[in-house]
């Protein structure tokens, strides 16, 4: 049997959500059509918007459905940046951190390369915790030139939980908009649309919904420019025929997973603590990447000195254990993790990484099976060395 411990890459869709999705996809009607079938589809979409807003504690009008987290990040970053520079060309600094997901780093670097943006990358400590004093100092000096701050809620590789409330507090005092990529946070810690937050990205398939659906929650007060024109179906910020069945499925999964976060936080933490302790016992040289930093209870990231991540991945796969070296990336190449490099680790250390991410149904016996394969995998990977 396959042991799947890569739920941070994608996790199983709730069976009830899948069944309903299949049913809904067979219903005829475009939410923008005026006739009765169109109105039924609209009803499906808007009920989804209300349910998701209910989970997040935001206004229903603040929910913009997208094709996923990456599109949401692009819309937030480019939309906020363009609006800010459109009003005041001097306001062209983006503040972010190099531990962000590529869905945030890449649009920022694109704006830097093609649109004249300036970027201030905040530092993190060796655990991956953001230097918020630096954020406060930077904004104190430069806030009139800052277009937006974009900082993730939870890091997708290390599971570090950032103090987004504090980020919002700092930025709000300078009236600087804040975007947060909450894709890795949603379903793993309590996520609400915090007062003062400007925009927040979410993805359905990380919480038991389908791939291809996401949302950007955009404050009603936010000033942004649309990225994708063509009908302006979603509050004039996103054109394109709306995916009502997908939105419905996302909202249903969000409701189910939010309840899970609330009810099972303690038991999941016990499971993670057990995993971290047993890995340290089995492989004393292994390092739990986030150390003492606050983090989500579903993700453990380790470095194994002297091993390369791709050797370990291959060996685990031979044992039918699916894990990851970090975030899944282009063409399946296991590269040195940019997150670990940003945390000040050496290229060598950032190559020997393993991310074990737990799902809603992960059991202790699955963890035990993983732990049983670990010593032999580690020994062989050590022998194969750092050939990368």
């Amino acid at each position: 049997m396959t042991i799947y411990l890569d739920h941070a890459a994608t996790t199983a869709i709730y069976p009830a959500v899948a069944a309903r999705l299949v049913e809904d996809m067979q219903k005829l009607g475009n939410p923008s059509s005026i006739h009765s079938l169109g109105q039924s589809a609209r009803g499906m979409l808007e009920s989804a918007r209300e349910d998701l807003a209910g989970v997040l504690g935001c206004d229903r009008n603040e929910v913009i459905f997208t094709s996923g987290g990456t599109e949401a990040d692009n819309l937030a970053i480019k939309g906020l940046y363009w609006k800010a520079t459109n009003v005041d060309p001097q306001r062209n600094i983006i503040v972010s951190a190099y531990t962000e997901h590529h869905a945030v780093i890449d649009p920022i670097e694109w704006l830097e390369k093609f649109q004249g943006a300036r970027v201030h990358w905040l530092g993190v400590d060796e655990r991956g915790v953001l230097d918020l004093a630096e954020l406060a100092n930077f904004l104190a000096e430069n806030s009139s030139q800052v277009a937006l701050v974009s900082l993730m809620w939870v890091n997708n590789e290390t599971g570090v939980l950032n103090d987004i409330e504090r980020v919002v507090q700092i930025a709000s005092s300078y009236q600087v908009p804040v975007h947060t990529d909450a894709v890795a946070a949603f379903g793993h810690t309590k996520v609400v649309f915090l007062p003062g937050l400007t925009a927040m990205s979410l993805s359905a398939h990380k919480v038991g919904g389908p791939v291809g659906v996401g949302a950007l929650i955009v404050s009603r007060a936010a000033k942004m420019i649309s990225v994708q024109q063509g009908g302006g179906q979603e509050r004039d910020l996103r054109g394109g025929t709306m995916n009502a069945p997908g939105a419905r499925a996302f909202a249903s999964a969000a409701v189910l997973s939010a309840a899970k976060v609330h009810d099972e936080a303690a038991s999941r933490q016990v499971l993670l603590d057990y995993l971290v302790e047993e890995v340290s016992k089995a492989i004393p040289s292994a390092r739990f990447s986030r150390g003492s930093a606050p983090g989500i209870p579903d993700l453990a990231h380790f470095t194994f000195p002297g091993c390369s991540g791709d050797s370990m991945l291959y060996l685990f796969d031979q044992q039918n254990v699916c894990v990851s070296t970090g975030s899944a990336c282009t063409a399946g190449v296991a590269r040195a993790s940019h997150v670990l490099l940003a945390m000040g680790r050496s290229e060598e250390e950032a190559t020997g990484t393993l991310r074990i991410s737990l799902g809603r149904d992960t059991t202790r016996s699955e963890i035990d099976e993983f732990l049983a394969t670990l010593p032999a995998v580690h020994a062989a990977a050590l022998k194969a060395g750092l050939t990368a």
């Binding site: 050797s311 063409a331 190449v333 062989a380 050939t387 990368a388």
Partner: protein, 369 residues
């Protein structure tokens, strides 16, 4: 056997992997990521090393029902192949990076890693054959003369030969391989062959080197040391080059002049008549034997030498002398530059190879007058 199929994304390695599966081996496909900037899908395929090639290899693996992984050797590749390439040009030599990649990456780093991870052998889509004689493995030319790749495998050692498989090595022509790929439903059947140097995608070696190396002006001289022109850097030249010399005075014989020698220490490029490119003797300190070494290599023996991947082999007398493997050719040969690899054959067998660091012209400088 547990076999790692090295899959470039091209048709040869795809069919090789398929045949390894047919032979009953337990096969895992591995694509080597060799560049940190392997480009995007939009830059298309080169036959190896781009993302599109990696995806082609993955698709073939799925059709063959084997597992597939991408292993990152980009750091090793940069150090062992790319940096070596630059240093060789800096030193006035003309390196063969594909050879270096076989020597240091495919049949070294990859093979070592494969053995450490429990594989018995690495299989590739090279055209060359392995033969066993008296319990010893020998590397031989492929019967497909036009595609024969034994030259670039000349760096393999006895130990490495024990752990390699060339399932398509005895195939007589490439069309058969393409047909087989099509019959197997592999989408790479009509994919063009790879060309040029993989880390110089536009094929402009001089331009690429120009970005890496500083301009260091020097003289262009004839074989008697007389200055005939000047240049901006020795890396712009390779032995045998005729164009781009910018010599204004014509030679006495009125014929074009060619680069004969590059001396980076004095930043000098030596030019002369085409006839002077003819080489009769070459040798190198850096050599390996492929398979069992001859018992008394100090005693001169008859062989053939090949100095480029698709060059004609030339009859020669070979010997080991003062720690140098060297050959004296029976006929003068053209197109020899230090840094190139000379592979020594006895019949169809690859006996060994050396990196050329010394050549002797068949024509004396006095004849330039």
């Amino acid at each position: 056997m547990k076999v790692l199929a090295a899959m470039s994304g091209g048709v040869d390695s795809a069919v090789a992997a398929a045949r390894a599966v047919d032979a009953g081996h337990e096969v895992v496909g591995v694509h080597l990521a060799l560049s940190r900037n392997s480009g995007t899908l939009r830059t298309g395929s080169r036959g190896c090393c781009t993302i599109e090639d990696s995806m082609d290899a993955q698709r073939v693996s799925a059709l063959l029902g084997i597992k597939y992984f991408v292993w990152d050797f980009s750091e090793r590749f940069k150090m062992e192949v790319v940096d070596d390439f630059i240093q060789e040009y800096e030193a006035g030599r003309t390196p063969n990076p594909c050879m270096r990649c076989n020597e240091r990456i495919k049949f070294a780093a990859l093979l070592e890693k494969a053995l450490a991870l429990g594989f018995d052998a690495v299989c590739t889509g090279h055209y060359a054959t392995l033969e066993e004689h008296d319990g010893n493995l020998e590397l031989h030319r492929s019967p497909a003369t036009a595609k024969d790749q034994s030259y670039v495998l000349g760096v393999l050692t006895t130990e490495q030969l024990k752990h390699v498989l060339f399932p398509i090595g005895a195939e007589s022509d490439k069309a058969t391989i393409r047909q087989e790929a099509a019959d197997r439903g592999l989408a790479v059947a009509q994919k063009p062959d790879s060309y040029d140097i993989c880390f110089i995608p536009d094929g402009d070696t001089q331009g690429w080197l120009g970005e890496k190396l500083q301009e260091e002006p020097g003289d262009i001289v004839d074989r008697n040391g007389r200055k005939v022109s000047s240049h901006t850097g020795t890396h712009n030249f390779t032995v045998g080059q005729r164009k781009g010399l910018h010599i204004e005075q014509p030679a006495k014989d009125g014929k074009p002049r060619y680069v004969l020698e590059i001396k980076p220490a004095t930043r000098t490029v030596v030019v002369g008549p085409q006839a002077a490119l003819a080489i009769k003797e070459l040798g190198g300190q850096r050599f390996t034997w492929c398979g069992v070494a001859p018992q008394n290599p100090e005693i001169p023996f008859e062989a053939e030498v090949q100095v480029r991947a698709h060059a004609e082999p030339v009859a020669c007398t070979a010997m080991l002398r003062d720690g140098e493997l060297m050959v004296i050719t029976h006929e003068p040969i053209l197109g020899v530059a230090p840094g190139q690899t000379a592979v020594i054959y006895v019949g169809t067998r690859v006996l060994g190879q050396f990196t050329i660091d010394r050549t002797v012209s068949a024509v004396s400088p006095e004849s330039d007058e």
